[in-house]
């Protein structure tokens, strides 16, 4: 089971209808990960899938609002190490997503989330496959809160 934490820096409310149409930019791998996985592509695919499934936004290449994505940390970890000693071999993922208005490149909101699998036995094998998934789930939750809260306030 992955545990995570997230933070959101809100600059503007999300009640404006124009925010429902967004362009999802490719995730930039800012980790110093030197393994074989393509973290950037993996992140982009996950984020697009999550955004689409959330029903919050419609993805469009010509939207006025950009959703940027940075993979800030990715550590593969090891289920064997976690089995031996909790905390050792921790699998970690951290992502940062910003909503930016194209015009003036104005940052509307910045969402950060990190997830980790610190303990567990071999049932945690493959944590490196779903760690970004967990981190993006948190981001979507934050986006939904930001969007819902702002919409309700506007009504």
């Amino acid at each position: 089971m992955a545990v995570g934490e997230s933070v959101v820096l809100v600059k503007e409310d999300g009640s404006d209808k124009e925010y429902t149409l967004i362009t999802v930019q490719p995730c930039v791998d800012r980790t110093e990960y030197d393994g074989t996985a393509d973290i950037g592509n993996m992140g982009t695919e996950k984020l697009q899938e999550k955004v689409r499934d959330s029903g919050l936004f419609e993805i469009s290449e010509s939207a006025e609002i950009l959703l940027t994505c940075d993979i800030e940390r990715f550590i593969e970890g090891s289920a064997l190490k976690r089995w031996i000693m909790p905390g050792w071999g921790s699998t970690q993922g951290a992502v940062s997503v910003m909503l930016v208005r194209k015009d003036g490149y104005k940052i509307l909101a910045n969402f950060k989330s990190q997830a980790s699998v610190d303990a567990g036995g071999f049932y945690t094998l493959g944590a490196e496959e779903y760690i970004l998934d967990s981190a993006f789930n948190e981001i979507i939750k934050q986006l939904r809160d930001w969007f819902d809260k702002s919409t309700n306030n506007a009504l």
């Binding site: 820096l9 600059k11 930039v28 800012r30 980790t31 110093e32 940027t68 940075d70 800030e72 940390r73 064997l80 190490k81 089995w83 031996i84 000693m85 940062s96 997503v97 910003m98 930016v100 003036g104 490149y105 940052i107 910045n110 950060k112």
Partner: protein, 139 residues
Amino acid sequence: MNPKHASLARHIVIAYVCALALSSQCFAQRDVATGPFAKVEEIESQLKQGVSTKADVQHLLGAPSGLGQAVFPPTYTPHEIWYYEDAEVTQIKSGGADGMRGDMRFQQLILFFDGETMTGYAWTSNSGEIMGNQVKDAR
């Protein structure tokens, strides 16, 4: 598996892995990072004052850690400010009886914008060694 056998298997694996770890000094190579802002040295070559845009900065450094606004004389025109920080232990080295040693890095960067254009920046980077000592029992 019988719990007794499972426990024995675990102990054997622990002993094997610890021996492997100590012989290869893999404990000494463990890195602990707290953020992505690791390319402060590229700012001067990749960003141009009065030319680079917010998008260029975001492309190079990612999402800022903080945002703000300030006015400066003589015009007192509002300038947007982006703030980046990075504090990380870049390497933990195996220590002796006194505690552990490691390398750390602390960096800060402030960028100023006039509209979309970057008008200036200031940064500091401090690398050094940290040492953690065991707290002696005063009783």
